[in-house]
Symmetry: C2
Subunit: 420 residues, 2 copies
Amino acid sequence: MSLRLEVLNTGSELLLGSVRDAHLSWLGRELFPLGLRIARQTTVPDGAPIRDALLEAFARTDVIIVTGGLGPTTDDITRELAAELLGRKMLPHPETLERIQERCRRRGFSFQPRMERQAMAPQGATVLPNDNGTAPGLYLPAVEGISWSSPHLFLLPGPPRELQPMAVAHVLPVLKELAKRHSGGGTQECRIYKVVGMGESMVEVKIGLELSKRGDLEVGYCARPNEVDFRLIGPREILDQVEPSVLAVVGDYLVSGDEKSMEEIVVHLLGQKGATLATAESCTGGHLVNRLTNVPGASKVFLEGFVTYSNRSKSDLLGVPADLISTHGAVSEEVVRAMAEGALRKSGATFALATTGIAGPDGGTPEKPVGTVWLALARDGCEPEVWKETIPADRITFKQVVTQSALDRLRKRLKALTNS
Amino acid sequence: MSLRLEVLNTGSELLLGSVRDAHLSWLGRELFPLGLRIARQTTVPDGAPIRDALLEAFARTDVIIVTGGLGPTTDDITRELAAELLGRKMLPHPETLERIQERCRRRGFSFQPRMERQAMAPQGATVLPNDNGTAPGLYLPAVEGISWSSPHLFLLPGPPRELQPMAVAHVLPVLKELAKRHSGGGTQECRIYKVVGMGESMVEVKIGLELSKRGDLEVGYCARPNEVDFRLIGPREILDQVEPSVLAVVGDYLVSGDEKSMEEIVVHLLGQKGATLATAESCTGGHLVNRLTNVPGASKVFLEGFVTYSNRSKSDLLGVPADLISTHGAVSEEVVRAMAEGALRKSGATFALATTGIAGPDGGTPEKPVGTVWLALARDGCEPEVWKETIPADRITFKQVVTQSALDRLRKRLKALTNS
């Protein structure tokens, strides 16, 4: 029987919406390759509801990962609550106390006596050192023969940059061992085919239904802005076996056959082809360049990015003639072409991408409503590709969809280069 | 007694980590002003676990908002499951069918017969039209006198850009009415004081503990990269009454006394002071300009942004002397100062911010390890402020912390202008 694992996020700020959870997606991705899937995730506010949620999960699951509530303030009670539920005493952990005091010295903060709470641990717990904050994590292994079911319990700090390195060093290795001991057969693999330009119904009709009928694959779909993620989970040999039929159907629309993001694919393809890139953005305001530079190694292929929000900057930095802007408007086929050509000329890059549009909420007109955007992809010695889209959405989604379209166009162009 | 509300997110992609939930934080923020708080949020995979989670929540809560599982594919079963649990027949909804067919025509997709499932609704449900996708939402009001407790049930589509406009138009107004009918007293207000440069223990010792003792305020803390969010929830008059003591303690460290983000504050202050801004980024790769342009109205104060990833672009675009780079290195006090001055000169803006550093994971040296970053804030006629930080973190966190530091310096400078 495979191990059942749940995640419990604590923190009123998550339910108030002040902070967006980052743990579930990170943990989900890290656990899958170990043969583990998160069966359920729950978020509760600080305080008593943590106890209810823990007790419910105790009765249902083999492993619980709790995030948050390990800080020094009075609303941080996860540590004490877990000890109480398991009937364990809290004991001081001198090594942790020293670590916290040292950290305060190093960062120039004064040590507060109430930080001592963070250096207490339930009896029998393994203390997981925190290299990026004060609160250590705690691991309370399941105890055989306890009167009521007690799962393996991991208490981890709330900030992602503390939790993630700690989990990598001290939690995932333990879970890997536990999973091995429990798992009956081989582990499963997950393949996600990212498809742009084909709806999810179509993907299902053309290939998904047939694969569902096999019974040895889990088939799933997720519609995202300008993208459908077609998901297959199963043993590697089965996935390899069906992959040719998947590619035969979605091949032309396929962005990626794995979990790589569009920007990772583009940076990788640029490197592969020895090509470089520059960007000239108006309406996307740096979202395009920010996506590209999120990819480690981007500096090898990305030369420079212009965010020309004002008309004057389009002329000064990219050499877009001022009369072109006054005649056609900043959001026009003519201007986006001149922006891309200007970025190409200024940077000496192989390719340049340009965007100009109306992100809203203001600035729309009847002829050019909010959501109108022109895009261009230029390459030295070639006529630029110029295209228009209309994406009525909030400002953030607008940026995401527009940059997705820009990157996809470049991706196709680079792939064609590979094949020639 | 106040209304208890829970959110149930469905979708295997959320638990696998392929997609990061955006609903909880959005709903939390939208519901609070109506006097509603989310008591618990649960994520379950597609399929049978939805039934278990729904049944558990039925017994516990007054309102359930379910997201996802309304699509056209076979893993989308929320609609049918809810009907089955409530003992309702599924009936065709011709208006929705027409809407979907019209949408396909408009977008150039071919209508698939299986989309017809999306035009079925449980008997007694209110159909909530979807202006941004095919699947309509559904509202199943609580029925008085039913043998087992049945809460108000809202089924909403998974994609945020479909869910959000639908919720604003058709869900929040209903919940507002329900909240009014149930609420005993007045609504509460939430104030978040964003504090930079003071640890959470210190905030608690200096003011939080005292406020907790009052008993009429809910006090909370959330540590974020380079920021502590100090949260007070209570009736407005109490919040007004204690605010002076809060400001007396955290005033110098206060970034914002409401939920505004750092970038919103900076854009607002720039506008207020009639000042403009340009940016020159190396290691933050457009993250700074992207944050600024996420704010509606940024185009009024933001002129242009340079992302100068290569050394050559630092010289060509910003006029950084090549020998300065070869003598001191691209990550140096001298180069960041020249970048900021160059951006100021080129743009004619009032202020310019510049960053250069080593985001990693590669590129570090013993003298300049990964995480080293130089920042500069320039203003015409003044000596630029230049400062160094060391932020060993993953690439994304690094960008977030560095741009937070840059914006905070500008914010302080702008606030000082206001007071002069």
